[in-house]
């Protein structure tokens, strides 16, 4: 415990300047002016410590006392510590338990304490005086009260006129304590807010860092793709894939136990180890065993890692994999869904384990690996989706191309309640890339049809999440193309149909317009320069402006045209690791 220390040369006779002073709080007007000044100083304070020191000095002067001190409560330890003291004895750092002495009692009871005669009052804790030689005659102490209970106390010792403290003194100190408590509380809340903002920024950085660890989606005919959806800012889940020197493709899905920063950090370590070991082209079982031994050497606090690792050839004909505490892998072949329970216990618990491995011929089918976040989603009744539920989802979306299927599966899971980080990975031979058909519509070449066409197109583009400004431009360009077919292709009095198809291949959108009008010579289609104030040719110029390129060719069979408008939408490219 810090002992009370007499300030050099500060001890003096208690009654030295009594005569010069009127009794405390003589004039209500003085009191008000003092309170106003004190509140003002505390309210505008930038440096709370310095302001409090000045405030306590001013209080001691105004109340005409020999000593004053301010104690603050440390909530965690329940100890009151003197932070500021003025007067002959420096008691800074003096520590008291709540309930101990007059200060401790003021806080414990959240009530002002008056001690008229310190020599006989049992509440007084006398050790301080014994250390310093100071004589405490009379005391008054007010708690620093807040809505959440007292945060400390303000204590005055010995009126200079040698009289005991009165009820009026106690009441006044209670009033003075209010703005002091408010200022301290405000400063603390401001500091907490800053700290929260700092943490939020740190988490945001960690999230970006983690996202950057996930592999980029491969555009070519790569047979592995994945998606990761953290339930909170940061994830304990990850996936990875890479090409080995011998041409095989390695893949990893992992799930670190627990959530929060420690899990996220372990995730980074586990992801590095799994990638490092996988590049050595070990058999999947040995791959897991090596990482398990490494993690066991360093893992702490009961944390562990569930993982699935494996290899496939570039055409995804055969997959070899092994799991550690991982949910069963699902293989969808033909119309049959088969589960392969994944072998050993989680990584990082017991060293020297063997992990069972499987070799599966996919035969054009697909392998699905998903972390338990997928099976743990809840429906509106709070029921787990479970393995059977996930298999039903897989069967339902099997017809979609892989990337769209991954999006659809994740979309369904998100519609339920995600309670954990969720990661999905698909291993499947790339199909001869058929683009997704997003819209197909046939309509009479009549201007009255255009409104409905625009509406359908808007909906299809909205479903892709294309931002409204770009969406409206695309709709305008396609509308202009349709109007040209109606006005110039078929012309007045000529009836016919128009077919519109919207196709997506990755980030590439294609709008196909087919008609049965007389063949158009592409060379005759000339847009006018934009900004020119003329009435014709504007439609084509708008198409030029909005689309990346367009082409027109005679339809197969001699009559009719096929107009193709193309636009690459970068935002469609970003969404894969993207969902992460």
């Amino acid at each position: 415990m810090t002992r009370a220390r007499a300030r050099p040369g500060a001890l003096r006779a208690p009654n030295a300047d009594t005569a010069a002073h009127a009794p405390p709080c003589a004039q209500p007007a003085d009191t008000l002016a003092f309170l106003a000044g004190l509140s003002q100083a505390l309210a505008v304070s930038l440096d709370l410590r310095q302001t409090l020191e000045q405030a306590v000095t001013r209080v001691a002067g105004f109340m005409r006392v020999e000593a004053a001190s301010l104690f603050l409560l440390d909530r965690a330890s329940g100890v009151l510590e003197c932070r500021i003291s003025v007067g002959p004895v420096d008691v800074d750092g003096l520590r008291l338990a709540v309930g101990q002495g007059v200060v401790g009692r003021a806080v414990a009871e959240n009530a002002v304490q008056i001690v008229a005669d310190a020599a006989t009052d049992a509440r007084v804790w006398r050790a301080a005086d014994e250390d310093s030689g100071f004589v405490t005659r009379s005391l008054v102490c007010a708690p620093l009260a807040t809505a959440a209970g007292p945060i400390g106390a303000l204590e005055l010792v010995n009126r200079r006129d040698d009289r005991p403290f009165s009820d009026a003194d106690a009441e006044l100190l209670g009033i003075i304590a209010a703005p002091v408590a408010l200022a301290i509380n405000n400063a603390r809340m401001a500091a907490e807010l800053l700290e929260q903002q700092r943490l939020k920024r740190e988490f945001e950085l960690a999230r970006h860092m983690q996202k950057a660890l996930l592999p980029k989606r491969r555009r070519d005919d790569f047979p592995v793709l994945g998606v990761n959806r953290p339930a909170h800012e940061i994830s304990g889940d990850f996936y990875d894939f890479f090409e080995c020197a011998d041409g095989r493709i390695g893949f990893v899905v992992g799930d670190v136990s627990g959530k929060g920063l420690d899990a996220a950090l372990l995730m980074v370590r586990a992801a590095s180890l799994l990638r490092w070991a996988g590049k050595d082209a070990l058999a999947p079982g040995a791959w897991l065993a090596r990482v398990n031994d490494e993690l066991c050497e360093t893992a702490q606090g009961g944390r562990f890692v569930c993982a699935l690792v494996g290899y496939c050839d570039h055409e995804a004909r055969v997959v070899r994999f092994a799991g550690a505490g991982f949910p069963p892998v699902v293989v969808h072949r033909g119309d049959v869904l088969t589960e392969y329970p994944a072998g050993g216990p989680p990584l990082g618990i017991l060293p020297d384990l063997a992990f069972e491995q499987h070799t599966v011929a996919l035969d054009g089918g697909a392998l699905y690996a998903f972390t338990d976040g997928a099976t743990d989603v809840r429906d509106v009744h709070g029921r787990r989706l479970g393995g059977a539920g996930v298999r039903a989802l897989i069967a339902r979306h099997a017809a979609l191309p892989p990337q769209a299927r991954l999006r659809a599966l994740l979309g369904e899971l998100k519609d339920l309640q995600l309670v954990d980080d969720t990661t999905l990975l698909i291993v499947e031979a790339a199909r001869a890339c058929a683009p997704d058909l997003l819209l197909e519509r046939h309509f009479a070449a009549d201007a009255a049809e255009l409104r409905g066409v625009r509406q359908a197109l808007r909906q299809a583009l909205d479903a892709l999440g294309i931002e409204p400004r770009l969406r409206d431009r695309l709709v305008l360009a396609v509308d202009e193309a349709c109007a040209n077919v109606i006005r110039h292709g078929y012309g007045p009095g000529c009836r016919g149909d128009i077919g519109l198809r919207l196709l997506r291949d990755g980030a590439q959108l294609s709008f196909e317009l087919s008609d049965h009008a007389p063949c158009v010579e592409a060379a005759r289609l000339r847009p006018q320069p934009l900004g020119e104030c003329r009435c014709g040719g504007l439609g084509l110029a708008l198409i030029d402006e909005v689309m990346d390129d367009w082409s027109i060719e005679p339809a197969a069979g001699g009559r009719g045209n096929l107009l193709l408008l193309r636009k690459r939408i970068e935002s469609l490219d970003e969404e894969e690791a993207g969902e992460a």
Binding site: A448, R451, R469, L476, C533, L538, G539, V546
Partner: protein
């Protein structure tokens, strides 16, 4: 009338004519829009076209406005677009015609400022 139905109406107001368009201006009725604009120019020396209720306009609609502007210039008339909706403004900007037209915020500004 259907809230988002197409419609055109004209009203004379103190020496000018205000043509109000509603709905989606496309090839299906832009000829009527053109007619209404030219008729208005035949009636008054200041014409405003109110586009606040227009949710879509295509190049044939823009062309009707361009024709009105050209006609007005030839005859020394005032021709302004009033309360242009965001959708129309986006197309005007795309066509680089947003600075060719005089755009005003309210029908009060159709007659030339003194």
């Amino acid at each position: 009338m259907n809230a988002n139905a197409n419609g055109v109406s004209s009203e004379a107001c103190g020496g000018c004519v205000l043509v109000r368009l509603r709905g989606e201006v496309d090839l299906s009725w832009s000829p009527q829009v053109r007619r209404a604009v030219l008729d208005a120019l035949a009636q008054a020396d200041a014409v405003g076209v109110d586009l606040s209720e227009v949710g879509y306009i295509d190049s044939s609609g823009i062309a009707a406005l361009v024709e009105g502007l050209q006609q007005a210039r030839t005859h020394g008339q005032r021709f302004v677009l009033v309360a242009v909706s965001d959708a129309v403004r986006a197309v005007l900007e795309l066509a680089r015609l947003d600075r060719v037209f005089t755009l005003v915020a309210s029908p009060d500004e159709v007659t030339a400022p003194a």
